[in-house]
C-alpha cells in the first residue's frame, strides 16, 4: 500500500508517447518512489501505431504490435486502467476522474492524449462505409466492412492517406486516393518526388486523383451504405467504402475543459520542459503545441518530449526546442524519405537531383553554398538514407553528385558509417548519436543519450538496442547500426562471434567442411565432437538441428547418412514441416504440394488432384510456383492423401523443405511463335535432376523460351533463358522482400554445358553459404562476389569442380521420393497421428468454416483461460 507521503503521478493516454514516458520515468527511478496511475482509453495497452498497416500487409497480429514489454507494468508497480478514459480534470482539487467514476488525486498530471483524425464536413460522411484509420479498432472495422465491397477510396494523399490506401490494397480492394493538393505527400516531398511517387503508386494498381476535392459521399437511400464520391471536377467515383485521412487534430478537450491554454488551431500550449502554464500539468506527443509553435504529428518528436518531461519530473535538466521532421517510410511498398531542409528553403542553397522516370526513382539533395548537406528527398531508392540523414549539417566526405546517385548506379561511393562524425544522429526516432552507440559498445564513459550505465559494454546489436533504444522504433537505422557495432567491436579487438548458435562456434560453411572431410554421419557425433565446450553431450537447439540436418541431407550418400530425412536420429532434427513432409498452417493443419515438374500436367493428373481435394475437403489454390497447393489436411490424413497421390504418380514437391522448390517454365518453342528452344523440356529435366536437393535455403528456378522472359528466370536462384545458340544461365536472382535481378553467369551453353554448370554452381553454394542465406545474399556476401564464383565454377580456379560434380551425381543417384519412402515404412507412418493415445481421434482445435465455396481455418479466439497466468 502506498504510504501517505508518496506522491502520485497520473498519465492520461497510453499511446506510443505515453509508454515512452513511462519507460523514461522507470529508467530514472521515478516509478520506484512515486505512485503512477495510467488512464488508457483504448481497450488495449500502447501499441505500435506506426506499423498499424503491417496487420494487412504482413499479417502482424494486434498482439505483436504491442510496444509494452511484458511484465513492465508489474515490475514498476504502475497501475494501468485499460478502457477507462479520463473525462474530467479538476485542477483546483488536483483530481482526474475517469469514465468508470474512478477519481485519482495527482501531484503531477501528464496529458498524452494524441490526436483524432479530422473528417471534413462533407455531406454523407457518417454513412455506413465511412471510416477513419487510427486505431486497431478502426482497422478491424475496416477489415470487416471491406469483406462485402470490391473497391474503396481514401480521402487524403498524405502520409496517413497512403498508409490507409496500403491497408485497402492489402484487403484486396480496388483502391483510389483522392488528394486536394496537386501531388501526393505534399508536406514531405517536392514536385519531382511527388511525380515519382505517383508513378510508383499507380504501378501498384492504386488509382491516384490529385488536384480534386471531395464534395459529397453518395449514399444508397435504402441501405444507408456508401455508393461513391462526388468530386469537385464533376466526376463520380463509384466505391464501396471511404476512409478519411485528411489530417489529424490534437485531442486537447480535457485541457480546454479545465481551462488550460490551447493554440488557435488546437494543441495544448507547453514550454520547453513540456509543462503547461499550470506547473503540475504536462502535455507531450501529438496533443501538445510545442514551445516552437508546432504540433508534431510524428513519433520521434513525441519521444523527445516524453524524455524531456520525464527528466523534468525527475528533477533533471532537459528541453524540447523543436525537432527535425525527417522521415523514412515504406508506403504501399514504396520507399520514401525526406530529411532536413527537404524543400530547399535556406538562402543560396542548391539542388542536386537524380531522376529516372522509367524506374520511378527520384533523389534530390539540398546543399548549401559551402557544400554543407542541408536535406533531401528520396523516392524509390532510399538505401543511403541511414547515412545521409546523420550527415546533414556537415560537409560530406564525398561530392553530392556521387551521393545523389542511387545504389548500384555510376561511380562507387566509398561512404560507410565510418565517415560519420560522432555527433551525427544515427537513430533519429530515439535521438541516438554515433558517439552514444560507440560508447555503448566501448562501455567506458557511456554518458549521453540512452543513459546506459557505464559499466556494461554491449557486444551485440541486440544489446546496443536495449541499452540505447536505437533502432527500436521505425527500424530504418538498423542496418547502419549493425555496421557501426561490428566496426566498433572489431576495432576494440573483440572477436565477433560468427558461430551458428550457442552450441556451435563454427559457421554453417565450416560445419559443412567438417562433415564432408571427416565423413560425419550424425548430428550427435558432430555436436559431441565439434560443438562448443559446454554444449557437447547436450540437447542442441532449433537453430543448429535443422541446419545440420540439411548438411547431412545434402551429403547423405557421401558421408553414409540415410538419404531419407525421417530415418533414425535425423527425424528428430528436422524442422516441423520437414518432419511431417508438409507445411504447417496457422491452425495446426497441414498443406500438401505435389511436384508438378516445369508446371506441366496431364488432364488425368489434374483430375486426381481435384478428386483428392474433393474427397478430403481440402482448400485448393494455384500457387505462385506453377503448381497446386491443397490446404487444411489434418496430420492423420497426410498418409492417406499421399497414398492416393503417389499411386497416381505424384511425388513430394518439397514445399516444406529448404530444398529445390519449382522450376517454372514458359510454353516455349513448341507452341509459342517466338520461342527458340524447348523451355518446358529443359525445365522438367532440371526439376527432376535437382528435386530433393537440400540446401541452405530454398532454391527456385525457371526456364524461358526466349528473351521475352515469360518464366521470370531472372528472379530465380538459377534461371535459364533460351538463345538462338543455346542457353544463358543467370544466378542469384530473388523475388520476395528484397528482390534481386539475377546476374549472367555464362552464355550460349549447350544442354550438357548448362547442366554441368548448374551442378557446380549449386554444390558450391550449398558448401559455402550460411544458414538461411538465399543465393542472392550469398553472392553479395562472399568475397569476390560473382567474379569469384565464376572463377570457381567456370574456370575451376580452386580445382574443386570435379568434386562438386561428383557430389551432385551422388545426389541424383541417391534420390528417392520421400513420401513413397514414408508410406512404405510403418515406423515412420506411426508418427502421423494427432494423439499418440487416441490415434483415431482428430485434433478438435483444427476447425474450418466455409468461404467462397471452399474451407478456411476457423479464426481461433485466444481466450485468456488458455494461458496459465504467471
Amino acid at each position: 500500500m502506498a504510504d501517505t507521503t508518496e506522491k502520485t503521478l497520473v498519465l492520461v493516454g497510453h499511446g506510443m508517447v505515453g509508454q515512452r514516458f513511462l519507460e523514461a520515468l522507470a529508467d530514472r527511478g521515478v516509478t520506484a518512489r512515486t505512485r503512477v496511475v495510467v488512464l488508457c482509453e483504448e481497450p488495449r495497452p500502447a501499441y505500435d501505431r506506426v506499423h498499424l498497416t503491417s496487420y494487412f500487409s504482413e499479417g502482424v497480429s494486434p498482439r505483436e504490435l504491442s510496444v509494452v514489454e511484458d511484465g513492465f507494468m508489474a515490475r514498476h508497480g504502475i497501475e494501468l486502467h485499460v478502457g477507462d478514459p479520463a473525462v474530467r480534470v479538476d485542477r483546483d482539487r488536483r483530481t482526474v476522474t475517469a469514465r468508470s467514476g474512478l477519481t485519482v488525486g495527482y501531484d503531477t498530471l501528464v496529458l498524452a492524449t494524441g490526436s483524432y483524425p479530422f473528417v471534413p464536413p462533407v455531406p454523407g460522411k457518417d454513412a455506413a462505409g465511412c471510416f477513419v484509420y487510427r486505431t486497431i479498432e478502426d482497422l478491424l472495422a475496416i477489415e470487416a466492412y471491406a469483406a462485402g465491397v470490391g473497391s474503396g477510396a481514401v480521402v487524403g494523399g498524405g502520409l496517413l492517406g497512403l498508409e490507409a490506401a496500403g491497408a485497402l490494397k492489402g484487403l484486396g480492394l480496388d483502391t483510389h486516393v483522392v488528394e486536394f493538393a496537386p501531388r501526393l505527400m505534399p508536406v514531405q516531398v517536392d514536385t519531382g518526388g511527388g511525380d515519382a511517387l505517383r508513378r510508383r503508386v499507380e504501378a501498384l494498381g492504386v488509382r491516384v486523383h490529385t488536384g480534386v476535392g471531395t464534395q459529397q459521399i453518395t449514399v444508397d437511400g435504402g441501405t444507408g451504405r456508401v455508393t461513391g464520391m462526388a468530386l469537385s471536377d464533376g466526376s463520380h467515383l463509384p466505391v464501396g467504402m471511404v476512409v478519411f485521412s485528411a489530417g489529424v487534430r490534437p485531442r486537447d478537450e480535457l485541457a480546454r475543459g479545465c481551462g488550460l491554454l490551447v493554440g488557435e488551431r488546437g494543441g495544448i500550449v507547453v514550454d520547453e520542459q513540456c509543462r503547461t502554464a499550470d506547473p503540475s500539468v504536462f502535455a507531450i506527443g501529438e496533443c501538445a503545441l510545442a514551445a516552437d509553435g508546432r504540433v508534431y504529428g510524428l513519433v520521434a518528436p513525441g519521444y523527445e518530449m516524453a524524455e524531456t518531461a520525464a527528466r523534468t519530473v525527475a528533477g533533471e535538466a532537459g528541453a524540447f526546442t523543436g525537432a527535425d521532421l525527417s522521415t523514412k517510410l515504406k508506403l504501399l511498398g514504396v520507399d520514401v524519405a525526406s530529411f532536413g531542409d527537404a524543400h530547399g528553403t535556406a538562402e543560396g542553397c542548391l539542388d542536386v537531383c537524380y531522376s529516372d522516370a522509367r524506374s520511378g526513382i527520384y533523389r534530390k539533395l539540398v546543399v548549401g553554398a559551402d557544400g554543407t548537406l542541408l536535406g533531401g528527398v528520396l523516392v524509390g531508392d532510399v538505401e543511403s538514407y541511414g547515412l545521409l540523414r546523420p550527415l546533414t549539417g556537415s560537409v560530406p566526405p564525398v561530392a553530392p553528385e556521387h551521393l545523389v546517385l542511387p545504389a548500384g548506379a555510376g561511380a562507387p561511393v566509398a561512404l560507410g558509417p565510418s565517415a560519420l562524425p560522432d555527433e551525427a544522429v544515427v537513430c533519429s526516432c530515439n535521438n541516438v548519436t554515433k558517439g552514444a552507440i560507440r560508447a555503448a559498445v566501448g562501455g567506458a564513459g557511456a554518458g549521453g543519450a540512452g543513459g546506459g550505465a557505464g559499466e556494461h559494454s554491449c557486444t551485440s546489436v541486440a544489446e546496443v538496442k536495449k541499452c540505447t533504444k536505437a533502432g527500436t522504433s521505425c527500424g530504418s537505422c538498423v542496418k547502419v547500426l549493425g555496421q557501426l557495432v561490428d566496426a566498433e567491436l572489431e576495432a576494440a579487438g573483440v572477436e565477433v562471434d560468427k558461430g551458428l548458435c550457442p552450441h556451435f562456434a563454427q559457421t554453417r560453411a565450416e560445419l559443412y567442411e567438417i562433415v564432408l572431410a571427416l565423413r560425419i554421419p550424425s548430428y550427435r557425433q558432430l555436436l559431441d565432437g565439434h560443438g562448443r565446450e559446454g554444449a557437447r553431450g547436450g540437447e542442441g537447439c532449433e537453430v543448429c538441428k535443422p541446419a545440420v540436418a540439411s548438411i547431412l541431407a545434402s551429403l547423405a550418400p557421401v558421408v553414409g547418412a540415410s538419404v531419407h530425412v525421417l530415418e533414425g536420429e535425423q527425424a528428430a532434427l528436422q524442422d516441423t514441416n520437414d518432419h511431417f513432409l508438409a507445411n504447417m498452417q496457422k491452425n495446426g493443419s497441414y498443406s500438401v504440394v505435389p511436384r508438378i515438374p516445369g508446371g506441366e500436367i496431364t488432364p488425368e493428373k489434374l483430375i486426381v488432384i481435384g478428386e483428392v481435394a474433393r474427397d478430403f475437403g481440402l482448400y485448393t489454390k494455384i500457387t505462385g510456383g506453377q503448381r497446386i497447393d491443397l490446404f487444411g489436411a489434418r496430420v492423420e490424413q497426410l498418409p492417406l492423401i499421399w497414398a492416393r497421390l503417389v499411386d497416381a504418380g505424384f511425388e513430394s514437391g518439397h514445399a516444406y523443405g529448404k530444398a529445390l522448390r519449382t522450376v517454372k517454365s514458359c510454353v516455349g518453342q513448341t507452341w509459342c511463335r517466338y520461342g527458340v528452344q524447348d523451355s518446358v523440356r529443359m525445365a522438367i529435366d532440371l526439376e527432376l535432376r535437382y528435386r530433393g536437393l537440400r540446401s541452405p535455403h530454398k532454391l527456385k528456378s525457371a526456364v524461358s523460351g526466349c528473351a521475352r522472359e515469360c518464366a521470370e528466370a531472372q528472379s530465380k536462384d538459377f534461371g535459364v533463358i533460351a538463345t538462338a545458340n543455346g542457353w544463358n544461365l543467370y544466378v542469384g536472382g530473388n523475388g520476395g522482400a528484397t528482390p534481386r535481378h539475377a546476374d549472367l553467369l555464362a552464355k550460349d551453353l549447350s544442354d550438357a554445358e548448362l547442366v554441368r554448370l548448374v551442378d557446380r554452381f549449386l554444390m558450391f553454394y550449398i558448401r559455402t553459404a550460411d544458414r538461411l542465406e538465399r543465393t542472392s545474399v550469398w553472392l553479395e556476401r562472399i568475397p569476390g562476389g560473382l567474379e569469384h564464383v565464376r572463377d570457381v565454377v567456370v574456370h575451376d580456379s580452386l580445382g574443386i569442380c570435379e568434386e562438386l560434380e561428383a557430389l551432385m551425381a551422388a545426389h541424383v543417384a541417391g534420390y528417392r521420393d520421400e513420401w513413397a519412402g514414408t508410406l512404405d515404412d510403418p515406423e515412420r507412418l506411426s508418427r502421423f497421428v494427432s494423439f499418440v493415445n487416441a490415434p483415431g481421434t482428430p485434433d478438435p482445435t483444427v476447425r474450418f468454416v466455409p468461404e467462397r465455396g471452399q474451407i478456411k481455418p476457423e479464426p481461433i479466439l485466444l481466450s485468456l483461460t488458455e494461458r496459465v497466468t504467471v
Binding site: D70, K545, P546, S562, G568, S834, N837, V868, V870
Partner: protein, 124 residues
C-alpha cells in the same frame, strides 16, 4: 542391414522399455509405449477432460509433459516443435511463431507473462 550410421551413433534411439504415464485428475494415465518418444521430438496426448498434453524425451532419457496448445495461436501444435536447451534446461520451440517453452515449468522464455501447464510424467 547395419549401416555406418548405426555403428557410429550408439546413442541413436536406444530402445526403451516401459510405458509413459501422465499424472492427471489425481491418477496416472498410461499414454504410450516409451519407445514412441523419439529423443528431441514430441507426441501429443488427449486427456480425459479434453485438454491436450505434449510429451517429450530428451537425450538423457528424461521425460517431460506440458500443455499442447500454443497460447499464442490457440493451435494444438507444441508437440510438433523442435526441442532445444539453454544450458541444461530443455525447451520446445513452437512450430508456428517460434516462442520457446521451458519443458520443466512451462514458462515461455520469450514472454514472461505467458506459460503453459505442466504435468508430472513417468516411465514404468
Amino acid at each position: 542391414m547395419t549401416t555406418m550410421t548405426d555403428l557410429l551413433s550408439p546413442a541413436a534411439a536406444p530402445s526403451v522399455p516401459g510405458t509413459v504415464e501422465l499424472h492427471v485428475g489425481g491418477r496416472w494415465l498410461a499414454v504410450c509405449a516409451a519407445e514412441a518418444l523419439l529423443p528431441g521430438r514430441g507426441v501429443a496426448a488427449l486427456l480425459p477432460d479434453g485438454r491436450q498434453a505434449a510429451l517429450f524425451r530428451d537425450r538423457a532419457g528424461r521425460t517431460y509433459a506440458i500443455g499442447n496448445v500454443d497460447p499464442f495461436t490457440g493451435a494444438g501444435v507444441l508437440s510438433h516443435g523442435l526441442v532445444g536447451a539453454v544450458g541444461d534446461r530443455p525447451y520446445v520451440a513452437s512450430p508456428l511463431l517460434k516462442q520457446r517453452f521451458d519443458l520443466v515449468d512451462g514458462r515461455c522464455l520469450d514472454d514472461e507473462a505467458v506459460a503453459v501447464a505442466t504435468y508430472p510424467v513417468r516411465v514404468r
